[in-house]
Symmetry: C2
Subunit: 335 residues, 2 copies
């Protein structure tokens, strides 16, 4: 048997906890014999869920905790005070090397703060970026950074470009990924102060395939694989993606209901359309890794289904097998 | 007869010049007897287009110019050197009070630079914002600022909120428009340095209906009428709107073509769908005004059809009739 990858799944995190995280754990270990899952959370609740399933019981273990961090809690306080929460206990296991990765659909703030404070940064990494995969016309792109720390420095963005390239190449499997910086025009002299300072640095950075600026219009079209930006802008892009998508789809649906003719048509196109739109759904692509930490931390949507969490667990396997952190360590110090 | 509003239309600007601007001028004067149009540009070319139409000839006048500013030219240079271009001549007419407004589908950079340098700012206006209307679920919102000047100060954003409110209330006709600032969370303590500094100022600003932060996800849903942001972020929002929309619609179309069943359905839903998607098309809503100038300058898309330009001309009429600039003058000095 090859090496087993140990993933801590936060059984208390997200809108559908503990059902979805527990279901995800069960499916993940059933689908892949190299995965071992620790479920952190209230023991009774987890056991009750686990009872519903048949699975290899030697590859899921409950780590009982007594506290739960709520989404609305101020993250720094929550991490400091709730020492026996599923998030703090799970991330501590990663720091101690008892597990390789931690995955949660819980409070984004708490997961990010815990990642930095408990798991800790790889030496040389200035700021760990949160990097979700977003759907494009024919694939996905990595949007780096969408985290909680805004107002980045140029050196941060250069590190994001390096870490993002390593992730896309090794976890997603895109050879020589195209790296671009979000800008308001294609020309090098355009942009705000941060972009203007960062652009020449990216041009000089070895080991990445920097293709220049990308306008927001060209992100969904798939013009780049690694989309580098400061977290405020990344957050706006990520959320507007969801917002425009949701509004447009609801308009398409209601547009189809305006006449008898179109209602009949809607019945006929529905199955094909559903399949197509699913490919444009961010939640199909697993969670967002928080890169540059001494272990892997993955954040899935608050509303994540077991499928998204399961895909996140599989990402962790790939992350570990490809030695992403070793590669980050190696490249982050180079200039 | 009531007062006539004089609009200069740049006949040389845009991908389909002079055809579309000339066609727009003709339709505008035919539809509304209060509109007078000056067409600036190469006389022969304009005359050739005008010949195609029947229209009240006493309300369109050609102002011949010999130079043309191309989209790729560096804007500051172009404005400085091409004194006899359709943009410089047209904007000079607005500055001199010979016309009320200038509208162009030409180089955005040149139109913005000219607006500031030639037309000039209203006293007290620190930075004139470019403010396009963007489609929302059931209407439109004003996205202010999407201009070329990035890295704004808090006082700029406060002025954007004021000017945007005046525009939405008086030109678009939305009573007591809801003003929100683009942010990465709903809480007041969230945001980058600029947003954190601006938020309390907006709360104290009299005469606007400030409702707090808006996350990008909620913009298409129509949670606010005036979306205040710094130009880099505004530019990203505007272009991502177009990008996600275009990619999703192309996916919906190709999704409908995957089976015989769905192809038949597509034929049936097509007319209804087309109508619905049109309402989500930014170009239906006329041009983007550059607010805070001593006259009105409107920028339409480079690819604008005569319908968009015509709608832009009508916006100018409304702008003048409602005395927007007088209202801006009055409110901009208040704190």
């Amino acid at each position: 048997m090859s090496e087993v990858v140990k993933v801590v799944v936060d059984a208390m995190g997200g809108d559908y906890a503990p059902q979805e995280p527990v279901h995800a754990a069960v499916e993940a270990v059933k689908e892949n014999s190299e995965i071992f899952v620790y479920l952190t959370g209230i023991e009774e609740q987890i056991q009750q869920e686990l009872k519903k399933y048949q699975y290899p019981t030697d590859r899921i273990e409950i780590v009982p905790t007594t506290e739960v961090i709520e989404t609305a809690e101020p993250p720094v306080n929550a991490i400091r005070k709730k020492k026996d929460s599923s998030i703090v206990v799970g991330q501590t296991m990663v720091r101690k090397g008892e597990a390789d990765a931690f995955i949660s659909s819980g409070s984004t703030g708490a997961v990010l703060v815990g990642g930095q404070v408990i798991v800790g940064r790889i030496k040389g990494v200035e700021r760990p970026p949160l990097a979700p995969l977003i759907p494009t016309k024919d694939g996905v792109a990595l949007l780096i950074d969408c985290g909680a720390n805004v107002d980045a420095r140029p050196s941060h963005l250069v590190q994001f470009a390096k870490m993002g390239s390593i992730y896309m190449e090794n976890v997603v499997g895109i050879k020589n990924p195209r790296v671009a910086i979000v800008n308001i025009g294609a020309e090098e002299e355009k942009g705000n102060a941060l972009v203007k300072e960062t652009f020449p640095l990216l041009k000089e950075t070895k080991g990445i395939n920097f293709i220049g600026s990308i306008e927001a219009r060209d992100i969904p079209a798939g013009y780049a694989d690694v989309i580098v930006c400061e977290a405020f802008v990344g957050n706006v892009i990520l959320k507007l993606y969801e917002g425009v998508g949701a509004t447009l789809i609801s308009k398409v649906k209601s547009g189809m209901m305006t006449s008898l003719r179109s209602k009949i048509g809607a019945l006929l196109v529905k199955p094909a359309l559903k399949k197509t739109l699913k490919s444009f759904d961010a939640s199909e692509h697993g969670g967002a890794p928080l890169l540059g930490l001494k272990g892997l931390v993955v954040k899935t949507h608050g509303s994540a289904s077991y499928v998204e969490i399961k895909n996140g667990i599989k990402q962790c396997l790939q992350f570990k097998k490809q030695g992403i952190n070793e590669k980050i360590k190696e490249h982050i110090q180079e200039v």
